[in-house]
Amino acid sequence: MLQLVVGQLLNGVIVGTLYAIIALGVTLTFGITGIVNFALGAFMMLGAYFTWYFSDGLGIPYPLAVVLATLAIALVGLVADQVLFRFTRNNLINGLIVSIGLISVIVAIVLMVWTTTPQNMHYVLPGVFRVGGVIVPKMKAVVFGVLLLVILFTYAALTRTWAGRAAYAYAQNPEAAALMGVRTKVLQAGVAAYSAALAGLGGGLYASLYSITPEIGAGYILKGVEAAILAGIGSVMGSFAGGIIIGVAEGVGSIFLPSAYNDAYGLVFLVLILLFKPAGLFAVSSR
C-alpha cells in the first residue's frame, strides 16, 4: 500500500509540474499584463503536436524538436497577443471570450490536419529508475527536471534581472513604469511570447510521456488556472506549489475515490480558495 501511495505521489508531482508550467504562463500573463488568455492550453496542445510532428514526422532529434516547437509556439503567442489580446487588455470578459474563440479555432485546425486519433511519439528515453521499490520512468524524471529548471530560471529572471523588476513595476503601475523608461509594448509582447513558450514547452515534454489528442489543452488550462488561483496570481514559485498540490491530490485521491472524479479535486480547491482566500495561498500583492 505504501508503495502505491508513494508511487502515486511521485506521479502526482510530475503531472503537477506540467500543471505548474501552464499555471506559470497564466500567472505571468494575467499578473503582469492583466490579460486573460485561456488559449495557453491550446498552445500546449499545439506544442505537443508540433513536437511530435518534428520528431516523428520530420525525423528531427527529440530535444531539438522540442526547442523548435517551443519557439514556434512563442511566435504563435506573440501574434495572438498583437492581433487579438492587445484589444482586450482592460476587459476581462472580452479577453475570456476571445480566448475561447481562439481555442476553438486552434482545436478545429488541429482536428482538420491530424484528426481526433490519438498520436503517440516514439519512446524517447526508455528505461526506469528504481527508487526504493518504486518505479519511476526515466523520461518522467527528465521532464520533471527540465520543467523545474525552467521554473527556477523564470523565478530568478524575475527577481534578479532588470527586465524582471521592470515587469513587476509594470504590474503595479503601468503608467509609472512607462514614465520610468520601461518599454511597455516590448514588455507586454515579451510576456505574451514567454508564456506561450512555457505552454509549448510543456506540450513538447507532455508528448514524450502520453498520447496526444486535440482535447488535452482544455484539461490543462483549467488545471493551470486552478493552480495559479490557488497559489495567488503573481507568485512564480507559488504556481509551482499550486500545480504540485493539485497533481498530488489527484494522484493520491485516485487511490481512494474513483478516478472518474479526478478533475473534481482541482475544481473544489478552486471554489474554496476563491470564496475564502481569494488572494491565494501564497499571495503576492500586485494586481
Binding site: 486573460v36 487579438l84 484589444f87 482586450t88 476581462l92 470578459i93 472580452n94 475570456l96 471570450i97 476571445v98 475561447i100 474563440g101 481562439l102 481555442i103 476553438s104 479555432v105 486552434i106 482545436v107 478545429a108 485546425i109 482536428l111 482538420m112 482544455a218 483549467l222 488556472v225 488561483i229 474513483p258 472518474a260 472524479y261 478533475d263 473534481a264 475544481l267 473544489v268 478552486l270 471554489v271 476563491l274 470564496l275 481569494p278
Partner: protein, 325 residues
C-alpha cells in the same frame, strides 16, 4: 411593441412552407433561442458572464425526464420539476458567488467549476443517468387540445407551434423584466455596480434574481429541447454548449432582448447552408466569437438598428410611459 408584428408571419410559415428541413431549423432556432435569450439576461443586461447556463439546460432536461420516468408525472409537471430544481440550485450557487462578491472573471470561473462538477456527477452516476451513453427517450409530452382531448406532441407541425409559443412567451417575459425598473437595476449593475450600491440598489439581490431568472429560462429550454430530439447525454453540459450559447447571444446582439434568436438562427442554419463538418463548425464558432468581440460588439441586430438610426443609446429604460402595445 411593433415587434409583435414580426411574430405574425412566423405563425403562417408552416402553412406556406412545407419543407421539413426549414421547419426543423426554425424549431431548433426557437428552442435554442429561449436558451440564448435567457442567457442574455444575466450576460448582456446584467453584465455577468455565467458559465453555468449550459448546466442549467442539461440539469433540467435530466430532471424532467427522470421525474417522468420514476414518478410517472406528465411532461408539463416534469418541466416544472426541472425548472424548480434548477432554480433552487441557481439560488444556492448564486448566493455563494455573490455573497462572496465574485466578480467578472472569477464569477465566470466559479460558475464553470460548478458546471463541470455537475457534469462529472451526471457522467459517472451510471445507475441513475446512464452515464456517457445518455438516455433515449421513450416518453413524449402530451397536450390537451380543446375538441381533440389529450394528444401526444409529435411531428414537425406540432413542435413548430409549441416552440413558437414558448419562445414568444419567453421573449415577452424577459422583455417585461428588462424594460421595467428591475431592468434599470440590472443595467446599473452592469455599468457601475459600486455606484448602484451607493444609490440604494441591493446589488446582491438583483444579481441573484437575474441569475436565477436566466437559469430558469435555460431550464425551460432544456426540457423542451431534450424532448424534441428525444435524447440527452452529458454533452448538454459541455464547454462546447456554453460556447455556442455565448456565440448566439453575441452574434445576435447582447443589448436587445430578442436579438439572440437571430444568433441562434444563424448558428442553426449555417451547417445547412454551408456544408460543414464538426471541425469546420468549431472553427466558425471560434471566428464568430473573436470577430463579434473585436469588430461587431453590438451583434447583427445592433448593426441593423444603429445602421438605420443615428447612433444613440441602446434601449435600456423607457423615456416615456409605455402604453399597452
Amino acid at each position: 411593441m411593433k415587434l409583435l408584428l414580426l411574430w405574425v408571419p412566423l405563425v403562417l410559415v408552416p402553412l406556406v412552407i412545407h419543407n421539413n428541413v426549414v421547419l426543423t431549423i426554425l424549431i431548433f432556432t426557437y428552442l435554442l433561442g429561449i436558451l440564448a435569450v435567457s442567457f442574455n439576461l444575466i450576460f448582456g443586461f446584467t453584465g455577468q458572464l455565467s458559465l453555468f447556463h449550459a448546466a442549467a439546460f442539461g440539469l433540467s432536461a435530466y430532471a424532467t425526464y427522470l421525474a417522468m420516468a420514476h414518478w410517472g408525472v406528465p411532461f408539463w409537471l416534469g418541466m416544472v420539476v426541472g425548472v424548480v430544481f434548477v432554480s433552487l440550485v441557481s439560488l444556492v450557487i448564486g448566493t455563494i458567488c455573490f455573497r462572496f462578491n465574485l466578480r467578472e472573471l472569477y464569477f465566470a470561473i466559479v460558475t464553470l467549476a460548478f458546471s463541470e462538477l455537475f457534469r462529472l456527477v451526471i457522467l459517472n452516476w451510471n445507475s441513475f443517468t446512464n452515464g456517457s451513453l445518455g438516455i433515449n427517450f421513450t416518453l413524449t409530452p402530451t397536450l390537451w387540445i380543446p375538441g381533440r382531448g389529450v394528444v401526444p406532441v409529435q411531428g414537425t407541425m406540432m413542435w413548430y407551434y409549441l416552440s413558437l409559443v414558448a419562445v414568444v412567451l419567453a421573449v415577452g417575459f424577459y422583455s417585461r423584466i428588462v424594460h421595467s425598473w428591475m431592468g434599470r437595476c440590472f443595467a446599473s449593475i452592469r455599468l457601475n455596480d459600486d455606484l448602484a450600491d451607493t444609490l440604494g440598489i441591493n446589488v446582491f439581490r438583483y444579481k441573484l434574481i437575474a441569475f436565477v431568472a436566466a437559469n430558469a429560462g435555460a431550464a425551460v429550454a432544456g426540457s423542451l429541447y431534450s424532448f424534441y430530439i428525444s435524447y440527452i447525454d452529458p454533452h448538454y453540459f459541455s464547454i462546447d454548449q456554453s460556447l455556442a450559447i455565448i456565440a448566439m447571444a453575441l452574434l445576435g446582439g447582447s443589448r436587445y432582448v430578442a436579438a439572440p434568436i437571430v444568433g441562434a438562427l444563424v448558428l442553426t442554419a449555417l451547417p445547412h447552408v454551408i456544408n460543414v463538418n464538426a471541425e469546420a463548425r468549431l472553427l466558425i464558432y471560434g471566428l464568430i466569437l473573436i470577430l463579434t468581440i473585436l469588430v461587431m460588439p453590438r451583434g447583427i441586430v445592433g448593426v441593423l438598428v444603429t445602421g438605420l438610426r443615428r447612433p444613440s443609446r441602446a434601449p435600456q429604460t423607457p423615456e416615456r410611459p409605455r402604453h399597452a402595445a
